[in-house]
Symmetry: C2
Subunit: 328 residues, 2 copies
């Protein structure tokens, strides 16, 4: 089978590609070809696999080719991120809405009803005061009221995919990812960036600032569980999915202070002491607008579970990224 | 002030135009100019008003002009209807999604933060089995799960308007209209068409078929209440609106059999007897997928109320359309 991963050079896209290549099959069929579409080139280890092909450039320009290629499976992860979309509205509309619609139309015109998994986001939820406050616990049927252009564009993309699926143009499944932690690499400008940074930087021997109060509740998913959910959503039958609506994932809900205690238990007091509290009202207000508890029954019925603990997430990060860990 | 009504030659658009011209003001300001944009020309009585101007043709082609005109108030009613969108997917995407987005971008580029009222639809609600069944009563926070392309496009348009409003590009208010009854004129192909036809045709002396069982519950709004809601949504302050989310309207909930009993009470046994039962499984299945009860607290706080009775709706129809009533 032929797989397309958009955003295939990104962190989650690369991990997904590696996981699929290691399995060798998807939905019981051999993976013969995998196209990684992104603005930048995929990692060298992925390009070394003879099944992998890169499509570097704007996805919007590649849609004609996508239509001709007749992919069997598509994972649509490419997106401009939340902070970018707030700073540049037109960029978000083009990258997240126009491009997704063009991709869906290309897949429809391919005519082979490809199966599509879309990485939506918990950012579809929020408050709409005074009508709705932040949900204390997000249920599968909780009303999304996105408070960013990014969240709006994700919600709209979900609805397009649901309708394209209802019409039989493709077989789409939208999965709402939560904040993925721990992300490797450089700090980015995202408001959620510190939820990786307060672990990654101290482990690398560097200082890190925590911009929110320690009793702030957050909802996390590890990179491994995120990739697992994307693959499970692909392989589920329609009956197992139980409805076309987007799927909320199980979350590890904990306080930021719990994250730091887990860091101390795994890596010691000295590592934890590299995190200093530097309250930032802007980030605090954004983070507190995110729901922190999820009761995701549909995902649970698919066998998806939340990470067992933040310790296990840190341990997996250390095992996956030995090059990023300072020697004691 | 300068008002644009898209769909201004349609039934609701024409009534809205007449109501606004008769008031002379909107939001306390004199109405100096009103542009009625539609595929066809507005009614002669409207064109006779020197404040009225027609813009006949596809709205998509008129968006540059809309940007230049700097309207103060826009009522966006133009849409391809449900049955059309199911039959021709691309038509619906163009008329209801591409055109709405182009209109929003034009209003943004006008730069004067116009106030926009959008006619959304109760068609955003439905069932998504087995995840969600038809809501027994729609609350303000009920999750929309549209089951038609039309409903999907209305929901997406709502979300675009909410985000354009959040960004300060315009001041948008989405109002979810219910089935408007009694509509005058010719029967159309809409699945809801009979909810006007079973009153309109017998009153005109013609037979009419009722395709659903008499104990089928439906949610209706009269033309007068629909127009009132559009104007109220325009004039409400943001604080009164209580959130950017789309507004559900109060509904008159009743059984189809209740509608016929009201017809008999108003117009007599002979008129009612012109309605014959002709069950149509296709229409029955569509109509039973629509929620029939609404608990619309936000609308109630704006002073919007459901029609008092179906008798009063029939009486208003007879008074408004004497030419369409057969002499006894």
């Amino acid at each position: 089978m032929k797989i397309l991963i958009t955003g295939g050079a990104g962190f989650v896209g690369s991990r997904l590609a590696r996981a699929l290549l290691a399995r060798g099959t998807l939905d019981g069929r051999n993976i013969e070809r995998m196209v990684l579409a992104d603005q930048s080139a995929p990692a060298a280890d992925l390009m070394a696999d003879r099944r992998v092909q890169a499509a570097v450039g704007p996805l919007l320009a590649a849609c004609d080719e996508v239509a001709r290629a007749r992919f069997d499976a598509v994972f649509h992860l490419a997106a401009a991120v939340s902070a970018e979309c707030e700073a540049d509205f037109d960029l978000g509309m083009r990258s997240n809405l126009e491009t997704t619609l063009a991709l869906l139309l290309a897949l429809r015109s391919a005519g082979n009803t490809p199966r599509l998994v879309f990485a939506s986001s918990g950012a579809v939820f929020g408050a709409d005061p005074p009508f709705l406050s932040v949900p204390s616990r997000v249920e599968d049927h909780t009303l999304p009221t996105p408070q960013t252009s990014y969240g709006t564009q994700k919600l709209i993309s979900e609805q397009l995919i649901i309708d394209f699926t209802r019409k039989g143009f493709l077989d789409g499944r939208a999965v709402r990812l939560l904040t993925v932690s721990v992300r490797p690499g450089r700090p980015n400008g995202a408001a959620s960036g510190f939820l990786s940074g307060i672990v990654r930087e101290p482990l690398a021997g560097a200082p890190s600032a925590c911009p929110v109060a320690l009793d702030t509740w957050v909802a996390l998913i590890s990179p491994a569980r995120a990739v697992e959910a994307l693959i499970r959503a692909h392989e589920a039958s329609r009956a197992e999915l139980g409805g076309r609506s987007a799927l909320n994932l199980p979350a590890l809900s904990l306080r930021v202070g719990d994250m730091l205690e887990a860091l101390e238990r795994v890596a010691g007091k000295a590592v934890r002491s590299r995190v200093r509290l530097e309250p930032d009202a802007r980030i605090e207000s954004i983070v507190s607008s995110w729901p922190a508890r999820f009761h995701s029954e549909r995902a649970a019925r698919l066998g998806l579970v939340a990470d067992a603990s933040f310790e296990s997430i840190i341990e997996a990060y250390i095992a996956d990224h030995p090059e990023a860990i300072a020697r004691a």
